[in-house]
Symmetry: D3
Subunit: 283 residues, 6 copies
């Protein structure tokens, strides 16, 4: 069960509105690696968790924090959208000049075109559950498999992409308020990258799971002769220069091998004739 | 530019058809962590790569291999769908018995209902670009950010989820042909988990990137006082027991700290009145 | 900012697992009118609210409650999925009988086919962010317009559809645990229908908004001669029998009129020739 | 069965093209609350209707009218897109000036970027089945439950959001032709809001359905002690000031109660260990 | 503007309900090639048409007919869903037997699992705007380009896939009512395939458009040395045996040529270093 | 199994970057008729092919070529995105002037708004698996039915729409490098339109399939009295002037007939009362 406090976890108000930048910030709410994803991902992982209590508790802690991050960004977007030039006005001298320059196009239309139009038409200058191109967040962005090592790796990747995107948005703005708020969220992403690396170490050192995930599957059931081979599917062998091409494998269970000129091991596929009542084309 | 050889990379034909299992195998083609995802992800990362040639080459090698994995699974699905009972037939004695037992429902309908109906209606007993519930694969499953550490972590997570799903499908079948083919794909997933761990080590040891991603962003621009704090958003402190709650942070740049009773640092949000021409509700 | 308590708002455990029913319950989590929708809808409406504080506070209260409803249903699904027959086993006598009856199809496959396969392959017997056919929840399900009467009507409709669906699921189960938990959620839906009706009355009696929404738009700018006309677009006049066809209009500003035989008021559309550089077909 | 007349229900041609505004108008065709939604929603409700003939007839009347509204807006979009500057041209003096000002960016590109590019590339300056950000209309926008009170409330909400959006688009344009056409559609939305309020009154006064929907479900099967309680999930009690917090409930069957400090009624969730063959992480 | 008649264009009622088959019929309503697609496609093509009046008129005729086809199929689905076993009942002797055989699973659940659960939970035994796996119809299924030859080819393909799917559904049923209704729709698909072939001949013989579409683009602007070459991208030369590999090209403007061993004509791609402020990985 | 060569099939580098045009080019990668569609469509058709070897081989040849077309366009997009003005900079004199003219909006924001913001935030100036409005490619764009005439018609339509879109993009650019690369892809589209026309002739002349598709379905099972009738669903008879309204039908099996004033042949639909446990509204 959940509770809400009215104060934001952290916030500095943007110095001035910027409806185009507001569009871009949506990526951090409703994008693949936005706060809606990490919130839902950690909560579902916590609710589905059948492992040790400390993992379940930790997952729900972080998931609960992320709800508040959506709140911060939604507030920022509302402030950035203030006074967006969305309604038609008397044409001023200035508009006439720009309109002339822009081939007759009203400059207000250009700004409208650079905004997300749904910020005006649909939400009335509020945030939406979408990304920076207006594509709605969806449930397939959530990963929750029940295998904690697989899932902690998902979380690590989400926080890596998420911090990268937050940093890019930081660089795109020179508004001190925006930058100050983002510098808090970026710090939290730093923590969360460290958190998932720590959780991976914690889990692996407990012996519950290791590489290759899932480690409880008896490895003799896989074709182990191909478990440590790099197949060079392109001409040229620059790919032989990496750590993955030679030496001990990362799981310590094999030796990397480089197949410079790999050949198929299987047959040509041969499909039986089509089922007549489905009217496919046969030989 | 790409070339095709007719032989499959590896393949053993299923011993007998099973249209329900064919539905499930679609997850490995068109699911979030299916072969379409890793193929497209590695190819786009390779095409967009502005880093060292060995990474670009390696990404395109593995991406090219994955196209062939879709081919293997599409062939398996076509074989599993053979003779699926999709057309109405004369009712036999046996049907009459089951129909009676099933409350008048034709048993063939039950099997049809357990299949993916589009395997009959849409593809004529062939594979489709969808997952195990018939939801189509989509381009948001692809991650390609230009930052290689962020992306290698994405790849590691995709191969972890992917191997987990392949292993689950292995356990769901007792068909020796299906199991033999999957045991090859599972071995390749083992390699690919090792590969991305090796690529991460290779990249980090080159000094190009490390935690927190992106590491070139000056960390003094973030609110570092919050960069290593765990916020306990729920009652109870089981989450204090993990590696993430105390000790040196994983990036070696800080010390984990546990906030048992975290309080908001920001103000209550205060939005300005609505823009009159958009007809929102004000105070 | 948000906090979590470990206890569920309400819960009685299902008496026995039922993986097919678990699939159906997903509708209440990730369907158009599931708990993810109302949670996100009320939170976004609250965060975007520029109206009186009591509305914002109330919206965030209810939105926060709904997070806990997802938690309840996710827990129910995990319990319903226990021991789902997802792995291949030694064929027993019973299987042989059913298999014979079912035309050689393994009965386990039939159950697998009746489940949501992603409950096994993707989530490892946990809930997902999808509806009862596995379609992911998405952000377009959220309505938040900034106009509170429009939005309270959205909320009323969501709770009406939501309670209807919960009641249907209640009728589909005879498990006392499932029914007890649902009877709590149904009661909350009763409250929430009453709540939105009360909020509509509260808002309308404050004079801030009334029919037609948005009421601040000067009605003389619309073609008022058509504002209270029913157009009978089909043969037959059964539609003349309703309250909408005669008498005072509901907003008290007009008189309903029934156009039995409506004719177009506009011209035939006439498009200019295609732009040559886009190579459309002209006259 | 349906018939078509060539004349539009109503139409005034835009005075001048405006490709950016054309993008925005798409919201009224293919957005969540666009004409495609109401058309499909009323038609499906009519086709699925098992209630009195007057409701079915009325639903099909209004649904049929809405097809013609798509036609009106599609024609408007085609006119707004005329002569859109989509093809490369000789650079004129004016372009050189703006280009210089815009940092070398061709002003034509700016206009192209402000348009929906698919209006040029995909439809050849015609309307599409998408919203104002190019997201395609989809079938989940349609609500048709078989319970007419639930559905009339859906219709009321759709017309409320729809009129709000049409009014916003009216304010965004100063083109007399556009405004005249919209003023007709806004009038129809006025009628349709009144229509659904009337239909609700008609249905409720018939005794077929009332609050809480569905009213035929025996209310003693729900946990009635929670059916009229407001749970205050946030600090502060501004939400106690509304009509929903005290007094007779809107359905007349209870008394509102305000829980200032609500506590969980359920247990901590306890999931059983993971199923071994699915390789989740256990305790 | 549109009108509705209450009688269906054609209809014979199914002899008995079949909720699983009802699920499958949804493909013909809301699938990629369902009636919603052709209806919307022909209407949008008609509304966007800037060519001769006979084409516009014809497109709107056929589009209007297709609305009535959705109506026919929606009615069929409602009849097929009658008495679907969706509510829990007293367990009878028969259920006990099957339940025992099915490993304790209630047979009603199996039927529920074979149905589309949304037919019970969401639509109350009515049709929905989705396909046979419950995926919603969406606007990207509509093709309307403004080039009539391109579009007539789209229409021909849609009717070919559509008739194929209708025929498959015909074969899947032995209900005389279902088959009779489908035999009408199949006949209409026969007409519509012939119609689009005729429209293509009509258009080509008018000289307005021919192969390659769009034919007004000056062919000397393309690299004509590659305009009639078949590139053999796989080992083996079975593809040399077809009509496409030799002889006059179909547009009469070239000669087919077979490249048995094609080689790249372009350079290795070389991307510039990453933009520093976006924190990608460079060399 | 697949192989990769590092050289591009064809390529000329754009002369200068253009981030807005880069957005538009995405339509050719991830749009409905982009290279991802034809690649996946031909590969799935090849993998699912149960017909003559020459068709399977040919399908896989062309599908394999199309992978290389994505590679070409991804490279073009990366070059077009170079130096995109995505990071905040010191405001120069020029910016001040434009900013003043544009009502205070920073011109850099305008360019950012005209770009696809995900090209900066998500991909770091690389291509993505989306179309020109950022909507992700999805698997429903792929058609593979098992009936080769139906599928070759799909392919013909895809190449017709595809060449039309490529030509439109050619006209939208005046960059010699962009135009040169597109002129190669347009030539390949010319070949592929000819290819599918040739494949249709090849298949039809083999007697395997003809109009109406699927031709093996006994035509006496359809209502042949309606198989060649044009129904005039609108007022006016301009549609009587086309080839489809009179003369021999295109399949040579009937005579076109024009129904000027078509009337319904079916009954009024009559649905049974609602199932009580689902709480729909009855009479």
């Amino acid at each position: 069960m959940f509770y809400h406090k009215k104060h934001l976890q952290y916030y500095t108000r943007p110095q001035k509105p910027n409806p185009v930048y507001a569009k871009n910030v949506q990526e951090l709410i409703g994008g693949v690696f936005g706060e809606m994803t990490v919130m839902m991902q950690y909560l579902f992982q916590g609710w589905n968790c059948r492992g040790p209590a400390k993992y379940r508790d930790m997952l729900l802690d972080v998931g609960t924090e992320e709800i508040g991050h959506i709140e911060i960004l939604a507030t920022m977007i509302a402030h950035l959208l203030d006074n967006a030039p969305v309604a038609a006005q008397e044409e001023g001298v200035q508009d006439a000049i720009v309109g002339a320059v822009m081939g007759g196009q009203d400059p207000r239309d250009i700004i409208m075109g650079a905004m997300n139009p749904q910020h005006a038409i649909m939400t009335g200058l509020g945030a939406s559950a979408s990304d920076s191109v207006g594509y709605p967040w969806n449930g397939r962005f959530v990963t929750s498999s029940g295998n904690l090592l697989a899932d902690f790796r998902s979380n690590l990747h989400a926080e890596s992409q998420g911090r990268l995107q937050a940093v890019r948005l930081y660089e795109m703005s020179d508004d001190p308020g925006v930058r100050d708020t983002l510098s808090f969220l970026i710090a939290r992403d730093t923590m969360h990258q460290n958190l998932w690396l720590a959780a991976i170490e914690d889990l692996e050192s407990s012996g519950k799971e290791t590489t290759p995930v899932p480690s409880a599957f008896p490895q003799n059931l896989e074709k182990t002769e191909h478990s440590y081979q790099f197949w060079n599917h392109s001409e040229g062998e620059q790919s032989a220069e990496g750590r993955w091409a030679k030496g001990k494998s990362m799981d310590g269970k094999g030796e990397f091998e480089y197949l410079a000129n790999p050949q198929p091991l299987g047959p040509e596929p041969e499909l039986p004739p089509p089922y007549p009542k489905l009217y496919g084309t046969g030989k």
